[in-house]
Symmetry: C2
Subunit: 152 residues, 2 copies
DNA sequence: GTGCGTGCAAAATCTTTGCATACGC
DNA sequence: GCGTATGCAAAGATTTTGCACGCAC
C-alpha cells in the first residue's frame, strides 16, 4: 500500500462519507486530511500545529475551520483524538496498518512511543462484555520515564 | 478499613508530605482531600465540581485554590488525574483498594464504569521494558456503548 | 439557485498568574 | 516574624460561535 493509493482511497472515502451525511468536500477539508496522510500515521498534532503546517505549505485554512474539520474527521473515523497527559488534545491518522495501538509517554520530557498489544485489546473487550457494553475502541496510556530521563 | 480511619490516615500523610516539601497544611487543602474521601473512590470530579461541592458544604475555597490544590494532590499521589474523552480533566481519589483500575466510557451518554485487569498491567509493563522505559502507571480507556445506548 | 462551509472576530471555557493580605509554622 | 497560601481579578490558552459572504452541489 503506497502513499499515493492510500491518499486516493481516503479522498474517495472522504467524499463519499461527507455526501452521505449531506456534507460537502471542500478544499479545506481535503487539505487537513491530506496533511495527516502526508506526515503518516503515528504523528500526533494539535489543532494549532495542523493550522501552522497548512500555512507553511501555502494552504490557507482558518483556525476555526481546522477545529471544525478535525471534529468532523474524528466523527467520521479518519482521525483519532488522543488525550495524552499534557495540555491540549492531539490528533493522528486512524491507520488500518495500526488498528489498535497504544501510547507510552515520558512524564518528564514528553517523548511518546507507540506499541500494540493483543492482550490489551482482549482485556478491554472482556471488561466491556462483562457489563454489557459494546466495545468501540480502547487505548492504553502508559506514563513512564524514558531512558534519558531515568539518568539525568 | 472504615472511612474514619482512612480519613485520619490520609490527613496524617497529607500533613507529613506537605511538610517534607516545605509546604503547609491549610484548611483549604484538607477540605479538598476530605471531599474526595467523603464521596469515595471511583467518583470523577472536575475542578469546577469540586469547587461547587465545597461551597454546598459551606466550605469556602476559591476556584483558583481548588486548581492549585488539585495539582498538588496529584503530584503527591493522593489523587489521579483522568483524561476521559469529554472536555475538561477529572480527578479521583487514588485508593489502595483499587490500585490500577481502568475506565469504560459510553460515548453516547457518558456513563463511566471501572474495572481492573492484571493482563493490562502486564502488557503496559512489557511494552515499557521493551524500549527501556520505566513504567509509572498505566490506564486503559475503553470507549464503548452501554446497554441502554445500544437499544435506543 | 440553495444552503452548507468558510473566514473573521468576538465569545465562551477552562486554567494559570500577579499581587496584596492572611495565616501556618 | 518569616515566608508560604489564599482570594480576587485579570490574563492566558484553547476551543466554539455568530454572521455575512462564497462556493460545492
Amino acid at each position: 500500500m503506497n502513499p499515493i493509493s492510500k491518499l486516493g482511497l481516503a479522498n474517495g472515502l472522504l467524499e463519499t462519507g461527507l455526501h452521505q451525511a449531506g456534507r460537502r468536500l471542500t478544499p479545506q477539508r481535503r487539505r487537513v486530511l491530506d496533511l495527516f496522510e502526508r506526515i503518516g500515521s503515528g504523528i500526533h498534532l494539535s489543532a494549532e500545529e495542523v493550522h501552522h503546517k497548512l500555512l507553511d505549505s501555502n494552504q490557507r485554512v482558518s483556525l476555526a475551520t481546522v477545529y471544525r474539520t478535525l471534529r468532523i474527521l474524528v466523527e467520521m473515523g479518519f482521525l483519532h483524538e488522543l488525550e495524552l497527559t499534557d495540555g491540549g488534545h492531539r490528533f493522528e491518522l486512524a491507520s488500518n496498518d495500526h488498528p489498535d495501538h497504544h501510547h507510552l509517554v515520558c512524564i518528564s520530557c514528553g517523548r511518546t512511543e507507540e506499541f500494540e498489544s493483543e492482550s490489551v485489546l482482549k482485556a478491554g473487550q472482556l471488561a466491556a462484555e462483562n457489563i454489557g457494553f459494546k466495545l468501540i475502541e480502547s487505548t492504553l496510556n502508559v506514563r513512564a520515564l524514558c531512558p534519558a530521563c531515568q539518568n539525568p
